[in-house]
């Protein structure tokens, strides 16, 4: 009985292998046809990609807050009452940092941003610190700036237009912008390490 069972098991086993063998033989007879068809399709498709499809990455006509796109224009009043436009800084590397005085990571990363500003401002680096004033208090903002000894422009987004334009979902949010006004990198959340700022700014300045 035991031997009969083992014989049956062996038969089932062998028949399943034979089915797979037939499948394999099917492939074996036509490997060249199948693989050649796939490779020919791939070559034709790559040719189409080269000559028919538009090149990727050329998205600078759209002004949206994403890497590779033109940075949306900013026109805000500074803490001193001056109107500051982002387009005024074309030709310089710009860091837009959107922050609030109640936001702990914003507070933590500000000294690092100030250090980088001190180090690279003469090389053409600008910081535009946009305060989300619509969710902040102007007295707290003034105290924050004084306590942290911030010397870069502090812009007041009293209506929240910039937060909306830059689709800010978390504070702080930072945007590294090239000399051509293109967003090079978006960093959502924080605090950003000084090493991160150093690596990105020096790279954008070509140092």
């Amino acid at each position: 009985m035991t031997s009969l069972l083992s014989v049956q098991a062996k038969t089932v086993d062998i028949s399943s292998i034979q089915i797979n063998n037939r499948l394999m033989n099917h492939f074996k007879q036509r490997p060249t046809l199948i693989s050649s068809s796939i490779i020919t399709f791939a070559i034709i498709w790559i040719g189409l990609t080269l000559f028919v499809f538009p090149s990727p990455g050329d998205q600078s006509i759209y002004a949206v807050p994403q890497q590779g796109f033109l940075a949306p224009e900013i026109s805000l009043s500074s803490l001193e009452g001056e109107i500051v436009n982002l387009s005024d800084f074309r030709g310089q590397v710009v860091l837009i940092n959107i922050w609030a005085s109640w936001c702990t990571p914003c507070k933590t990363e500000m000294p690092a941003i100030q250090n980088m500003y001190d180090k690279y401002r003469d090389d053409g680096f600008v910081v535009l610190a946009v305060n989300a004033t619509n969710s902040d208090n102007i007295n707290n903002v003034t105290n924050f700036v004084e306590n942290q000894n911030l010397t870069f422009p502090i812009l007041l987004d009293t209506e929240g237009f910039v937060s909306q334009k830059y689709q800010v979902q978390a504070l702080p949010s930072s945007f590294f912008i090239t000399q051509d006004g293109i967003i090079n990198e978006v960093v959502i959340g924080g605090p950003m390490a000084e090493a991160l700022l150093e690596s990105r700014i020096s790279s954008l300045l070509g140092r």
Binding site: K10, D13, I14, S16, I17, Q18, N20, N21, L23, M24, N25, F27, K28, P31, S35, I38, I39, A42, I43, W45, I46, L48, T49, L50, F53, P54, S55, P56, G57, Q59, Y62, A63, V64, Q66, Q67, G68, F69, Q169, A170, E185, V187, I188, G189, M192, A193, E194, A195, L196, E198, S199, R200, S202, S203
Partner: protein, 252 residues
């Protein structure tokens, strides 16, 4: 697009969370298929975990080597949790290398191991595509289609969703095929063929910046090379196992 999940006072980075879930799914799927290839699932999971850990450390070290000046004034930043301070490409290469070394050291069949992790790899790639959808990166070319999505100023091909769907379908196909008795390594090269074919095809719809040499898109070119290698290896494996003589060997 949903880069941030606001849970009470917490702002969770959705793309990172999706990648973590994807890795967990990959672990689970590996466990499921390890037994079929007579691999100890615990050993496989450990190898996988240590490779990822060393890959993460390697990604940070590679970043430091590339930008040492950034860390000279702030050596504490070496242990910073900032994801932007990792070189992910180096991390992936180190993870693969460590995984191969560990597999060899534990004397597990390399081909069986690669076969066992292939279905999970396709599932993981589907999660990666979802994470790109969450962050809004790897977006498609502008195009007005019934299924276009409005993203970054215009209607576009939902490239991330194309990848997601095709990787899922590829994963399902591999899970069906893995049940059959193919020669060692075939499932892996079949998976690699699917991944590279999907990449060659979908790279044409890419709108986000891509590494280029002239007008040639590097990811598409690399995928094409991988496609040729994987197809060749599927063929080689089938002949190498000598399938015709297999039943005779068993019955004798």
């Amino acid at each position: 697009m949903f880069p941030i999940l606001n849970v009470g006072p917490l702002a969770i980075q959705a793309p990172g969370l999706i990648i973590l879930v994807g890795l967990w799914v990959w672990f689970m799927v590996n466990d499921r298929f390890a037994e079929k290839f007579m691999i100890n699932s615990e050993v496989l999971s450990n190898n996988f975990f240590y490779s990822l850990l060393l890959g993460l450390v390697g990604a940070r070290i590679a970043f430091i080597i590339q930008t040492p000046r950034a860390f000279l004034d702030n050596p504490i930043a070496i242990i910073s949790p900032n994801l932007a301070l990792f070189d992910f490409m180096s991390g992936i290469l180190i993870t693969i290398l460590v995984f191969l070394i560990l597999t060899q050291r534990k004397k597990i069949s390399m081909k069986d191991t690669l076969d066992a992790i292939t279905p999970g790899l396709l599932m993981f790639l589907a999660f990666v595509a979802l994470s790109f959808f969450a962050s809004g990166s790897l977006y498609g070319l502008p195009g007005k289609l019934p299924w276009s999505i409005y993203l970054w100023g215009t209607d576009r091909h939902p490239l991330q969703l194309y990848y997601l769907v095709l990787f899922l379908l590829g994963g399902v196909f591999i899970i069906q095929e893995i049940k059959k008795d193919y020669p060692q390594g075939t499932i892996f090269f079949l998976g690699l063929t699917i991944i590279s074919l999907i990449t060659v095809f979908l790279e044409a719809f890419r709108g986000s910046p891509s590494a280029m040499i002239g007008t040639v898109r590097i990811p598409q070119f690399v995928a094409f090379i991988l496609l040729i290698i994987s197809i060749r290896n599927i063929k080689v494996d089938k002949t190498a196992t000598n399938v015709d003589s297999y039943p005779e060997n068993i019955s004798s």
